[in-house]
């Protein structure tokens, strides 16, 4: 039965826009097992956040649905905790209070005050933030804020932990620290995690499975790669591991060969148009004889 712990069941998402419906996702379908660490990777704007928000219940799918332990979800809930890209801590609450607001709501009438306190501290210790409990978010660094955001999500004891580019706003060094921390935590808790990222190394290092999305509109699952690398994983040792590099290669080639960056596509089209119009004008002038000649000239110009 564990085969369909979380089922994203043929989800289609249409956004109403002033110029008609915009189909962001078309028939997205995949299954996540319990305790699995899934990464969703794809180019910016392909619909990753949309998928995550639908799983979280923050958005309603136009068609299809989300099944958690065979029950269809409706609306958001703490059993699907979310870590947002921009920490989203209450700036007026201390680190401790930011976690406490979640704990008090989720464990209302289930834990005593003392137990709640212990649970808050426990989760802050898990992300190594217990030393800054009384600080305000404005007094700690970006990486620390994100740690608190993760502690808050973990403190909800979610069935699924959803993370939308949790380290996207951090510098490279902080990001790798955070990745190590997350691997440590995952080894202890064995949560079911869905993480969005656009960092190929991050995806391969952390995940059991990488879901690669095709470009929108009407984005879909392009390819799924199972990452069969032993844990605990060590980024330095993996760097020389041929299997690791093979996985990396596969993701990279999907992203940059099969799904070229949508942002660079229009530019290419434009330059081709330019060559064509120039070619057409030249056709009309009797002196020019060969269009391909012109193309090669412009190409050599580029090379120089």
């Amino acid at each position: 039965m564990s085969a369909s712990y979380l089922h994203i069941d043929h989800v289609t998402m249409n956004f109403p826009t002033p110029s008609g419906e915009f189909c962001a996702l078309k028939n997205v379908n995949f299954v996540i097992n319990k305790g699995e660490y899934i990464s969703i990777i794809g180019h910016s704007g392909c619909g990753k956040s949309t998928v995550l928000n639908i799983i979280a219940g923050l958005l309603d799918a136009s068609q299809g649905g989300i099944f958690l332990e065979n029950k269809q979800i409706s609306g958001p809930g703490p059993e699907r905790a979310v870590v947002f890209q921009h920490h989203s801590l209450m700036p007026w609450l201390s680190v401790y209070e930011n976690v406490a607001i979640a704990v008090r709501q989720v464990f209302k009438r289930k834990k005593t005050k003392a137990e709640m306190h212990e649970w808050i501290i426990h989760n802050l210790e898990l992300v190594h933030m217990d030393h800054a409990m009384d600080k305000l978010p404005s007094e700690i660094s970006g990486g620390m804020k994100q740690r608190v955001g993760i502690a808050r999500a973990l403190a909800m004891e979610p069935k699924v932990l959803l993370m939308d580019e949790p380290f996207g706003a951090l510098d490279a060094l902080t990001r790798s620290h955070m990745q190590e921390s997350l691997m440590d935590i995952q080894e202890k808790l064995n949560n079911t995690i869905v993480m969005i990222t656009h960092d190929v190394d991050e995806a391969v290092l952390l995940s059991d499975k990488i879901i690669m999305m095709s470009n929108g509109p009407s984005a879909n699952i392009g390819e799924v790669v199972e990452i069969d690398l032993p844990r605990p994983r060590n980024r330095v040792r993996l760097a020389s591991n041929p299997t690791y590099n093979e996985y990396r290669q596969r993701v990279l080639s999907f992203l940059y060969e099969r799904q070229s960056n949508p942002l660079s596509a229009p530019e290419k089209e434009e330059s081709e148009d330019l060559v064509e119009t120039v070619a057409e004008t030249i056709k009309e002038t009797p002196e020019a004889t060969n269009v391909t000649e012109l193309k090669s000239i412009s190409d050599s110009g580029k090379a120089a």
């Binding site: 809930g77 209450m90 909800m156």
Partner: protein, 324 residues
Amino acid sequence: MALLTLPNIQMLEKIDIQESIKQFMIPFVAIVLFLIFWEVTASQIKTSLGLVPGPIEVSKQFKNLVVEHNEMRAKATAFYERQEKRNAAKLAKDPDAKVKIRSFTGKPTFFDQIFTSLITVFAGFFIATIIAVPIGILSGLSQNFYTAINPLVQIFKPISPLAWLPIVTIIVSAVYVSNDPMFSKSFIISALTVTLCCMWPTLINTAVGVASVDKDLLNVSRVLQLPSLTKIWKIVLPSAIPMIFTGLRLSIGIGWMVLIAAEMLAQNPGLGKFVWDEFQNGSSNSLGRIMVAVLAIGIIGFILDRLMLSMQRLISWDKNAVLR
């Protein structure tokens, strides 16, 4: 390390002191220049009441007002002492005798008028706040509610206090009838006029503050399934607090300006009436006394603003916001 950092700290302190001297000196010099300019130009303008008073004459008038106030207080004390003695004597003769206790009815002094105006502006501002903040929160939360009240707000907002006054006066006179009123009618009229004019900035700023709560924070509250009231209390209100205070500061400033105008026009007790009475009086001292009142109005307005500012500093979580 310690040796290295020590001189740095001293240097920092030195800069701090220099900075604070500068902060103090610049406005001081500006004020002195203004006073000189005032003294010089004033002495060149002749009016029907004599020369326009300069700062020296005005400060003399201020001292006079203090003296008058003290005299009036002494009279009042004397009056009550006499009344008490009289009543005690009456009661000694006949224990069943009815004694009358009258209150002193001297003309309110300049400082009495200041006190009245302050109480009135606070009352009007208080009513405005308890109306505007909840409505602002509602219209920030609900687009429909906002759409409903927006045209009303836009129409009522630019109405001058002088236009409200007759309506308020007539309605209060009709509705507020009581043999033993807790508040005088003039107080109610002035306060309500202040309310009507000063509630709009608070309402609009609260609505904007509530509507612009970080979407991520609202999503956090949705994930946590916080009940609506908890959501408003724990997330929406704290987020909107800086904007609410911006509104409150604008409101109390407007309220104070409106009140003076309303008191002048309606002859309701307060600083406005003091100015109007002096204007009608037309003695050689009047212009100087009016100028004392005008300065007092300005200084009190400034103090009210600073009061709101320090309250904002105390309550708002956003300690880094630049507050001016």
